[in-house]
């Protein structure tokens, strides 16, 4: 039997690959409680990786898509609306399968994109890994959901703010950056916090679907499921991963509450919209 310190050393970074600790995962009767605690914790590396990158990239894309959907130009509005419809209307789980089976069909050697003076080789083989392909699906998915939230917020920006911007002679990108964007974010922020939490929870699906966990490096729920399969005891692994996710959720809520405070700092005290510290979210 390993001591707790030994399992910490062997497994705390194991999710990064088999060179980052013990090559083999603990099996059968060899599994200790500390193994479960630390290996599942190491899986959180990938949950955080997927969540941070997907939310970070998805945020900018979502603003663009929301503005496109709100635009009066049908050439911008129609594609943006269709994108949101497709990615919000279908299950993320199926999206993973669909994109994985599409990525697999791409030529392995990579695609050459001639850019006139230089030829860019897109490494398509990376797309079949969860770290790249799965991330792309998550980005597209969260972009659609956030775009819908931002679009709703754009629609409810107070008319007076826009008129004030006009009165100051602000237009174009300046008006967007100084007036529309902050107001939109302020209005959408509580629901956007929900979306961030939901996306973080969705990262548990990456390795459950089509994308393979190479070298058995997966996210937290992948390991919890591995332990339950090994020990046939659901009362240890799943509560551990549940506790980690509650903790992660609370971290997200507090980080987003900080931003919320900044977005609302110009408002009088009682008009500020607080994000309540309750686990009250739905996508």
């Amino acid at each position: 039997m390993r001591t707790c310190a030994e399992s910490f050393e062997s497994y705390i970074l194991r999710a990064l690959g088999r060179d980052w600790g013990e090559r083999l995962l603990p099996r059968g009767l060899d599994i200790t409680l500390c193994d479960q605690l630390f290996l599942i914790a190491s899986g959180l590396i990938w949950n955080i990786y997927f969540a941070v990158l997907a939310i970070g990239i998805g945020f900018f894309l979502a603003v663009a898509v929301a503005v496109g959907k709100f635009s009066t130009n049908p050439w911008l509005r129609a594609p943006a609306t269709a994108f949101v419809f497709v990615f919000r209307g279908s299950p993320l789980f199926i999206q993973f399968f669909f994109f994985y089976s599409a990525f697999v069909l791409l030529p392995r050697a990579g695609i050459d994109v001639p850019l006139g003076f230089v030829t860019l080789t897109v490494e398509t083989s990376r797309l079949t890994t969860a770290q790249v392909g799965g991330l792309i699906v998550l980005v597209l998915n969260t972009t659609a959901y956030s775009a819908e939230l931002f679009y709703g917020a754009l629609r409810s920006i107070p008319k007076g703010e826009l008129e004030a911007a006009d009165a100051y002679g602000m237009f174009g990108f300046t008006r967007f950056r100084r007036i529309i964007l902050p107001s939109m974010l302020r209005l959408a922020w509580p629901s956007y916090t929900n979306e961030a939490i939901f996306l973080t929870h969705s990262t548990t699906l990456v390795f459950l679907s089509a994308f393979p966990a190479r070298q058995q490096s997966g996210e937290a729920f992948y390991y919890a499921r591995y332990f339950v399969d090994q020990t046939f005891n659901p009362f240890v692994g799943y509560p551990i991963v549940a506790a980690y996710f509650i903790a992660l959720t609370l971290v997200i809520i507090s980080l987003f509450a900080l931003v919320n405070r900044r977005l609302n700092r110009h408002l009088p005290q009682e008009a500020r919209r607080k994000i309540k510290l309750s686990l009250n979210f739905i996508r």
Binding site: R88, L105, T204, L205, P234
Partner: protein, 293 residues
Amino acid sequence: MFDYCTDPSILEQWQWFTCYLTTPTHFAFYRSFLTVMLLLALTAPIALAMGMAGALAMRSRIWPLNWLGRGYVNLIRGVPDIVFFMFVPIALGQGIEWIYHHIQCPDWDQPIRQGNDFIVCREAKIPGVNAPAWVRDVYAFGMAVVAFALVFGSFAANTLYGAMSAVPRAQIETAEAYGMTRAQAFRRVVLPQMWVYAIPGLSNIWQILVKATPLLFLLGIQDAVYWARELGGQKTSLYAYPHPDWRVWYFLVLLVFYLFMTWASERAFGRLNERLSRGQATAAGERQRRAAA
């Protein structure tokens, strides 16, 4: 299915496809969409009932009941739903076997958990050792229904609780002034009116439920995802219908199916909302009254 399907390798393109799409395995694929529908049809009412129970518990003045309701709702929401989908069927299955074991074999002296095995006596196995395959399928499906109902019941409980609180307080006070008891006021005043406030939330939950159904695949049920993987995978010339990797097309079909489901439900809920707003003291109800007058 058709007469000319006896030797598919010599068929024309379109005939080949008519044969290919009517093989018995393809019919299993088509039936699996009905499995999804069945899951929705069973889960939605059960989840709604559990949500109602949860919401009533949250409103209760008896504190253990109140705590139970709040605990149920908050615990399930803080954790990814997939954890519950995987946890509940195993935990419940073991729990049932454990209880049954104590009834059937009271003088069993060995521990139930031996190392990594969960061992109950032969008589306590559920479904039974000699149970036919369909009983096992139904049992697995029933477990999935319970898991889904538990998770979505918690979502619904929160929405219904909010809807109950949204019914104007003055109306309840009026009912009480007429001498109705708390239960009567709830049944006659709150219950008929709460739905108009609950529908937006419930429609949202329904959409999430629809989009959660592919997770059935993870519970080992032969649903649409299972068949799409099976049928779409590359088939060598050993098979009657050899073809390259077509999974992407099969998943495209699934994607379209789900898009249609969510689109149709959105429209249905829109209609329902219009219907429920009739005669309500809300802006939508007022607009309908004006239009009619």
